[in-house]
Amino acid sequence: MTNTATTNKQAHTLQDADFLTPPGKIPVIAKVLSFMVLMVLIFTGIANLLPQVEGQAPRDIKVDLGALTMGSYIAMGETLFKGKGTCTLCHNNLGRAPDILVLNMEDTAAQRLSAEAYKGEAKDSESYFLESMLAPSKYVVPGYGKEGDPSPMPTIDKAPIGLTAVEMGAIIAFLQAKDGGEPTVELPTDTPEIEETASTTAEPAKPAANAEEVLTKNACTACHAVLDSPSTIGPDLKTIGARSSREEIRESIINPAAVIAEGFPPIMPATFADTMMVKELEMVVDYLLASKGDSAKENSLSTETEKKGE
């Protein structure tokens, strides 16, 4: 019994000694520093692996209003809406604010103006859009306001956004025209200095190389079974060529609300007519028309379309 206890004690003593760093080895400070640097480099590596995007500040550019047409004014409005105006930060499909790009804003304005809860002073869509930008709390769409401070939307002509009257006019023109309406705003005659983000003043975007790229770029795969996507949120596009004509496919892309496929929610964005280039639209229509469930055919057409694109 005593011997066992003694042995245990010796073993215990040896165990204690094992914990102490023997002299002559690598200095503790070097080991600790190496460990620290290694860990920090791992964190740095992760930060460098993530998507690298810079947030550019808006910068001043001159716009020649003498050469401005209503078409370019509308285009300027769209650029401002998605750029300097930062409208898409909230007005998107995440539910923070009404999804303006999806809604038909002319119809929406008419509904709002006739709503009992509307207490503003606007008489038509132009004045309604302007009022919404300058006094967002005049009318808050049910479900979006907050207690005490009705609208979280900033006043657009004030900092940090600070749009000018001409810029707000451009946005109104865009909102009126985006669903096929006729803009009522007048073209500006002054020569103001407006701000644009660097991204909006970059080189013109190049069209996609082939139909697959267009479908990917426009996130069609998020809802439709197309390419390798198995999504069932929207109708299956792998066999659409067998049941739809060229005109029907084109119509479904540029005006998705025209015919809603039975059993599917009406959630497809109505913005492709604006965001997709004509060349891209035709490539996609060709591709989908050939999508009849025969993959060999699809592939050959895709390649053909790509060649045409060249």
Partner: protein, 623 residues
């Protein structure tokens, strides 16, 4: 009592009384100064506001003369050679903030530990508190050096911006300087009087000094915070930046108090982690088992402080972010859903690292006690849960992919991993990580105890049942409401998930407290933790430091291209938000520099204890 002894006692007593008379006077003076400053802070309208009842005409004229915020041009920015001014100020400011956070935090928990020492009569607490202060003292002078360098850098590189800030804050900056003098004075008295005021009533004088030190330190923090929050959400100025209110209006912007709370709590967690690293460093360098045991205990205490302060941080962060959203939804979305949103993946990695390191340290620490063998079989399951949860937490939602990658992936989201990228999966993961961490902590606490209450079996069964129900509830709520219902229920279910986790923690503490009554305590062999376990004490401060740099960067970047949001535009060449890689590299430069400084501090602190042995034969210099 012999006459000589009574005389000595009387002399000692007299000496004691004299010093007791002198010190309270000094303290009274300091205390009155502190009170006066506090009063000025509380009712600054009386002192600085043009709207105050006692405002003079001169003051009113001064307010009228305020200028709008200048429009910045190329002449308002300077550079040192070809070095980016933003990068230079970024690193210097970050180093100053790291050091300042540390030196403000240490006295907070040192005073608490000193108090515990008084209440328990265990002198080890007092010694440990003093040693923590010793580390902090070296850092204090470095904080001031970096603070001075930062101020010079700002005035040199951004003269117009600093001119505007001086215009806005006026005399308040001198109050900051005065507080800094006061902080230095009280700090030196507190540290150097440690052994002079160690026992009896004098100890309470020393504790009062500690409270005073923390009062001044916290006020300093709050004053400096006002500058940062004014830049984020200016108040007391009009749209053009003209000063319209008193200093109190300028200071108490909507984000001031949330930032005050967040930084106060975060500093404690950060400070605890740094002194934990000090204990780890000393432990690895120990030459005797007694020394190793002392620093093991110190490391355990530091880790406990760090994790304890870390737990409420998410709530403080939530308040800050909620106030940011309330002030400007645009600013909130920029942080959480805009260009800065990807940084929160890095945040998940860092917090995951902190939780993994804290758990790993607890598991290793269980080896200090033979009683832990009852629970070691559970560790592999906790580890598995933590690792899987961690991987889910860091799975990104949106991937930026090329067309080929999308084709290879089978869509914009991976068919199997895609569902792990959304919030319901992450809510499950985070809650399971917190439950797992608490289980590790509970097992650690039980390791050195043999429960003797007659209802031990029932208590254990109850605890197991609570764990199982809570885990099932967290998973069910996340899966069902997260994937099969709409967004409203998704958000609502996350509250119920957190409640499940809190119920585990609260009931665990209550049940254990009741079960530990009359429990037999097993010996704890301090020092008998593996060296690998000690490295967890370094992992914590590294992750904390990088996390602090990251979140500070997010807080500052939400201003986008504004020096002072909505009031003063940043028109410098650096007025863009850099990409995450560049920001990460900057954080790494700051973090590695800080860690090198920390190791220097540890080395200097150890140098003070090193004594050269007297040589047996001293050579005569004359020969």
């Amino acid at each position: 009592m012999s006459p000589l002894k009574s005389l000595t006692t009387a002399r000692l007593s007299t000496g004691s009384n004299q010093s007791a008379l002198i010190l309270p006077r000094a303290m009274q003076t300091l205390f009155v100064l502190f009170l006066m400053l506090s009063a000025l802070m509380l009712v600054p309208d009386l002192a600085w506001s043009s709207e105050g009842a006692i405002a003079t005409e001169a003051v009113v004229e001064d307010v009228v003369e305020h200028e709008p915020a200048p429009v910045m041009g190329p002449r308002d920015y300077r550079q040192i050679g070809s070095m980016s001014s933003r990068s230079f100020v970024w690193v210097i400011a970050q180093l100053h903030l790291f050091l300042a956070a540390f030196v403000l935090a240490v006295p907070l928990f040192v005073t608490v530990i000193e108090w515990i020492g008084v209440k328990t009569g265990d002198q080890r607490y007092d010694d440990m508190a003093h040693e923590f202060m010793k580390v902090s003292m070296t850092a204090y002078s470095l904080t001031a050096l970096f603070g001075g360098t930062l101020a010079f850098s700002l005035f040199l590189l951004y003269p117009t911006f600093m001119g505007y800030m001086m215009e806005v804050f006026g005399n308040q900056v001198m109050v900051y300087a005065l507080l800094f003098f006061l902080e230095s004075g009280v700090l030196y008295i507190y540290y150097y009087s440690w052994y002079a005021l160690r026992y009896g009533n004098k100890k309470y004088i020393h504790l009062t000094l500690g409270v005073l030190l923390n009062g001044v330190g916290t006020t300093l923090l709050f004053v400096a915070n006002a500058w940062a929050t004014f830049m984020m959400a200016p108040s007391g100025v009009d749209d053009a930046g003209v000063v319209t209110g008193g200093i109190w209006d300028i200071m108490r912007g909507p984000l001031w108090n949330p930032l005050n709370l967040h930084r106060f709590v975060a500093n404690i967690a950060f400070g605890g982690a740094i002194v934990g690293a000090y204990a780890g460093y000393k432990m690895l360098s120990a030459h005797t088992m007694a020394e190793r045991a002392h620093y093991d205990w110190m490391g355990y205490t530091s880790n406990f402080i760090a994790v304890l302060a870390f737990l409420p941080l998410p709530f403080a962060g939530y308040w800050l972010m909620a106030e940011i959203y309330a002030y400007s939804q645009q600013m909130g979305i920029t942080a959480m859903g805009g260009i800065l949103a990807w940084l929160f993946i890095v945040q998940a990695v860092l917090i995951g690292t902190i939780l993994l390191a804290a758990n790993y340290y607890l598991w290793n620490g269980m080896s200090r006690c033979a009683g832990s063998s009852r629970y070691t079989w559970l560790i592999k399951y906790i580890a598995g849960t933590l690792v899987v949860s961690f991987l889910i937490w860091v799975t990104p939602h949106t991937l930026i992919l090329s067309a080929k990658e999308i084709a290879a992936l089978g869509g914009s989201h991976h068919p199997l991993l895609g569902p792990f990228g959304i919030m319901p999966a992450k809510n499950i993961a985070v809650n399971l990580m917190l439950i797992g961490t608490f289980l590790s902590f509970q097992l650690y606490r039980r390791s050195d105890k043999v429960i003797t209450v007659p209802w031990a079996g029932f208590g254990n069964a109850l605890m197991v049942a609570i764990y199982l129900i809570a885990i099932a509830n967290v998973i069910f709520l996340g899966v069902y409401y997260g994937y099969f219902t709409n967004t409203v229920y998704k958000v609502g279910s996350s509250v119920a998930q957190v409640m499940s986790t809190l119920i585990v923690i609260i009931s665990g503490v209550v049940i254990d407290t009741m079960m530990f009554k009359g429990a037999k305590t097993l010996p704890v062999k301090w020092g008998q933790i593996s060296n690998r376990g000690v490295y967890a004490l370094f992992a914590l401060p590294i992750a904390f430091t990088w996390l602090m740099a990251l979140m500070g960067y997010v807080r500052s970047s939400v201003r986008t291209h504004w020096h002072v949001y909505t009031v003063m535009k940043d028109n410098s060449v650096d007025n863009f938000i850099p990409n995450i890689g560049h920001a990460g590299n900057m954080m790494t430069v700051a973090t590695i520099s800080f860690l090198a400084i920390v190791l220097f501090i540890f080395w200097v602190a150890s140098l003070g204890d090193t004594k050269q042995p007297k040589p047996e034969k001293i050579a005569n210099p004359a020969q």
